[in-house]
């Protein structure tokens, strides 16, 4: 934790929220560096104190803010795509004294509620992404805690497969949020301690209320870390664990990476345009219309070599990167755009041709596999986005297979039955197509497919739909099959959509966020849904309570030398 030198007096003043940019690359990193040594990437957290994303705080003690995490996210993406040779990743600190003090307290204290929430969501997604790398990318993460890892610092380590803690009689792991700050270890910490590391709940209770945490031996005993190692043995042990982690990786030995060049993107006041994704903002209606442009038929690469050669220009990768960037930008920078309309445009044949290539190679080829998981994670970003999502399925759209997942991720789906009678061009009625992709390639955070979530408790329907893969369904058929909410025809379309959007815009944004999140994540809880649901919801509640963010609350009083003055009622 960064020690605050004075009271954050301006903390609740409405500050201009900066426009956040997610573009970066290793040459621009201020807080991270990494070295590739054979099969292992050594990743060093080395935060620049004066490198905060917004003014008002110093990133002391390797504490982080959104800017630090944007670099971490970029780094994970580069390891995946640009470094196929990497089979294990060692996460450690570039400082001598400590590993990481977690999220910067002064930053949290001065931030608006939406900023805090967005920050936590993004960091959670990156931590989940790190686990996804270990699980699905053949790049296993090892946390080498060469100093104290507190709060968010320990939570970062929890995302790794293995945690080593130096045994120097001072370094510790700790979750001091509850005792010191009156908030939760909200970046998965509480959840992973029990759900992933299987720490007994009474011990977890002690650990989470003991601000100084535990040093090596006790931390091992309580399963908070896997191993504690003396300074003398440190380097060799970490090296050995990294080598072990690399064993059994699915990564190829002879592949060339795909470089991720800066995105081509044009931003105006009311549009964000990429080559494969377009977004138009209607600020009066508070909607964003997101159009994903499908691939052209005939452009599908005939071989894996060709896919590699295309690299970041390969349509699925290019499109996913743009969509990912757009989601992050809209989420962070356009808080009042409450409804996103999701459209696609392109040829169904083209979309299906790419489907076949992905299906054919994603089991065997590292790059195709990587792209599939990237699209999976991007869909998950949509799932946890606190905006109303509405799919508009119109003539000229290409909601087939993987792209159909975009529609299924939405809260509602409207599909035009027939064609627009007064369209300028000749039209085919809109169609949607289920493919094998819709039955397991892109699971949600709850471990179910979007179809299983949609038809929760009705496996027969899912089985029946499985029998209808590759069928072209029109609006009426899709409505009948339960795949779309409604299929108005040309005459009704405009009114239905307009009224729906206006009605939606009049509802409480908070109630919508809660309602949508509840509807999207049906059924079983997983560690992921517990983090995004239970932990986040509690954390966000605590964030708005005076006991945390009131002027006498713990978050605001931290580092002022004065004790928090709690409202003693348990609610």
């Amino acid at each position: 934790m960064t020690v605050l030198d004075d009271a954050p007096a301006a903390a609740q003043a409405p500050e201009a929220v900066p426009q956040v940019d997610f573009d970066t690359d290793p040459a621009q990193y201020r807080h991270w560096r990494f070295e590739i040594d054979g099969e292992t990437a050594w990743v060093y957290l080395d935060v620049a104190e004066d490198g905060g994303l917004v003014p008002g705080y110093e990133l002391k003690l390797n504490s982080y803010d959104l800017g630090v995490d944007i670099e971490l996210y970029d780094l994970t993406q580069r390891l995946r795509f640009e470094h196929p040779e990497v089979r294990s990743v060692v996460l450690t600190s570039g400082k001598d004294s400590n590993f990481c003090a977690g999220a910067n307290i002064r930053m949290l204290a001065q931030s608006s509620h939406p900023w805090k929430v967005n920050f936590c969501k993004f960091t959670n997604e990156t931590r989940n992404g790190i686990e996804d790398m270990t699980a699905n990318s053949g790049q296993t993460w090892v946390a080498a805690l060469n100093g104290t890892a507190a709060g968010g610092g320990y939570e970062m380590a929890l995302a790794c497969e293995t945690i080593l803690l130096v045994n120097d009689r001072s370094s510790a792991v700790a979750l001091p949020e509850v005792p010191l700050l009156g908030v939760l270890p909200g970046t998965g910490g509480l959840t992973r301690v029990t759900d992933k590391r299987h720490v007994r709940k009474d011990r977890a209770d002690i650990f989470a209320t003991k601000s100084e945490g535990f040093q090596g031996p006790k931390a091992v005993e309580w399963k908070l870390v896997d191993e504690t190692v003396s300074r003398k043995q440190w380097d060799s042990t970490v090296r050995a664990r990294a080598a072990e982690a690399a064993e059994g990786s699915s990564r190829p030995t002879d592949a060339t990476g795909v470089s991720l060049p800066p995105l081509r993107r044009e931003i105006t006041d009311d549009a964000i345009t990429y080559p494969h994704v377009r977004c138009e903002l209607d600020r009066d209606a508070r909607t964003a219309t997101i159009t994903v442009l499908g691939p052209e038929p005939g452009t599908v690469p005939e071989s894996l070599d060709r896919i590699c050669a295309l690299g970041a220009d390969f349509w699925p990768l290019a499109m996913t990167r743009e969509l990912d960037d757009l989601i992050l930008r809209l989420r962070t920078n356009e808080l009042e755009i409450g409804t996103w309309l999701v459209r696609t445009q392109g040829s169904i044949e083209g979309a299906l041709a790419f489907e076949r290539v992905i299906a054919e190679h994603s089991g065997s080829d590292w790059l195709v596999n990587e792209i599939r998981h990237y699209f999976k994670r991007t869909l998950k970003r949509l799932d946890v986005t606190s905006r109303t999502l509405i799919a508009l399925i119109e003539p000229g759209s290409c909601f087939a297979g993987a792209l159909l997942e975009l529609a299924l991720a939405c809260d509602r789906q409207y599909m035009l039955e027939g064609i627009f009678e007064d369209a300028d061009e000749e039209q085919e009625p809109a169609q949607i197509v289920l493919t094998a992709s819709n039955f397991g390639a892109f699971p949600m955070g709850n471990g179910l497919t979007r179809l299983q979530s949609r038809f929760y408790g009705d496996d027969d329907t899912v089985t029946e739909l499985h029998g209808r893969t590759d069928e072209r369904m029109t609006g009426a058929q899709a409505e009948e099959a339960g795949l779309v909410t409604d299929a108005p025809d040309d005459i009704d379309w405009e009114d239905e959509i307009r009224i729906l959007l206006e009605e939606r815009a009049s509802l409480s944004p908070d109630a919508l966020t809660g309602m949508e999140a509840n509807h999207r994540f049906v059924g079983p809880e997983t560690m992921e849904t517990r983090i995004f649901g239970r932990l986040t919801a509690w954390q966000n509640w605590i964030f708005i309570r005076p006991n945390a963010s009131g002027s006498e609350g713990a978050l605001r009083r931290y580092g002022t030398g004065r004790k928090a003055d709690f409202d003693k009622q348990r609610v």
Binding site: I499, L501, E503, S506
Partner: protein
Amino acid sequence: MTSARPKIDFDAKIPNNVDLASDRKLQRALERWQPNFLDWWGDMGPAVDTKDVYLRTAVDVGRDGWAHFDHVPMNEYRWGVFLSEHDPDRKIAFGEHKGEPVWQEVPGEYRADLQRLIVIQGDTEPASVEQQRFLGATAPSLYDMRNLFQVNVEEGRHLWAMVYLLHAYFGRAGREEADQLLARNSGSDDSPRILGAFNEETPDWLSFYMFTYFTDRDGKYQLGTLKESGFDPLSRTCEFMLKEEAHHMFVGTTGIDRVVARTAELMNEHDSEEVAGAGGIPLDMIQKYINFHYTVSLDLFGNESSTNAANYFTAGLKGRWQEERRKDDHVLTDDAGAVDAVRDGKITSTEVPALLALNQDLRSEYMGDCSNGLKRWNRILEKHGIDARLYLPHVGFNRQVGAFAGQRISPEGKMIPEAEWTANEGDWLPTDVDKTHVRGLMHPVLEPGKIASWIAPPSNGINDKPVDFEYVHFN
């Protein structure tokens, strides 16, 4: 859809000023709804078999168009869709959108509320046709029978007007509601009409006149508030409906005029208040009918203090009576109003924010209007040299809705114990004996120019035709 369905010639079949001929959305909706409407009219409309009736048909909104008279077979009546003239500069006159241009489309934010308001209004229109279904069989004259049918076809047209709004502006949900308007029926156990008063039967002609005087007048006030709506199509529709509603109230006013006049004649003839034996309706029986119909209609205005009414007002959906002539800020957020209340066994009033008092405000306007009829009828009594007078009972008398519901209050406005109520109820409200007497007088008089014993003839015919004109032809 380019199916081979036979094209309906919309403009010929359905007189309108909403450009129906080029509106695919409306056409499709009406193509489906119109046959259902005709079925409903056949099943639930006037039960008397006639060849044709001298009716007014609106073929346009202009001075010449809206009152076009001819003998028309009832099932060939051309129910039209008319909105009053469009004013391109019209602004919302009240509420939080005051001063903004009126809406030509339904604002999504208010879709549910507007749809509800239209459905409730729309539900009353066919309800009254159903309530009056059998009256034709006992019409006191051809003139009256014609007036009944005129009211009926126009209530049918008012249904069309509301259905037009649902079809044109509310999409699929609107079409479903339009279907429901035909599926609910007055007095039905399974699916009654929405408002209580519209599930009461209209068993005799005295009730019919009372209904058109008191209950249609409620309609006038509801339409008057919707005429102020920021949703322009609703406003324009209601403005045109008000013209027709005026005729319905004319039927009620003059109908009661003629009953009172006949009763006065009989009283003088027999020098007695007891005119029942002479085939008339005694004055105290008329008073009981007034008491009943007035109070049932007062209930239609809802609770004195209403958050719904406040929300509708603030949203700009439903204004006050004569909103634009009122001298206040038309926003009312800082004003207070008094509403009736009963406290500690006393009739009193409570101060509430003005926005919450809008139902009572409208009801007060209505009560003032109702009293005009009483003056009229008392003048008739006076002219006949009769001292007795008719009156409106106290607002708290016989109420089922609002502050007075469940209270026992005499027509003079005294809180009374249950026993006193029970002892006097038969003097204040129509008894079975009264109803049986009135019903016993109901015999059809089908000869042109002739009139039943219990009612005086009208002073003028319709559209400058003589009173003995053959207003109805039979098969």
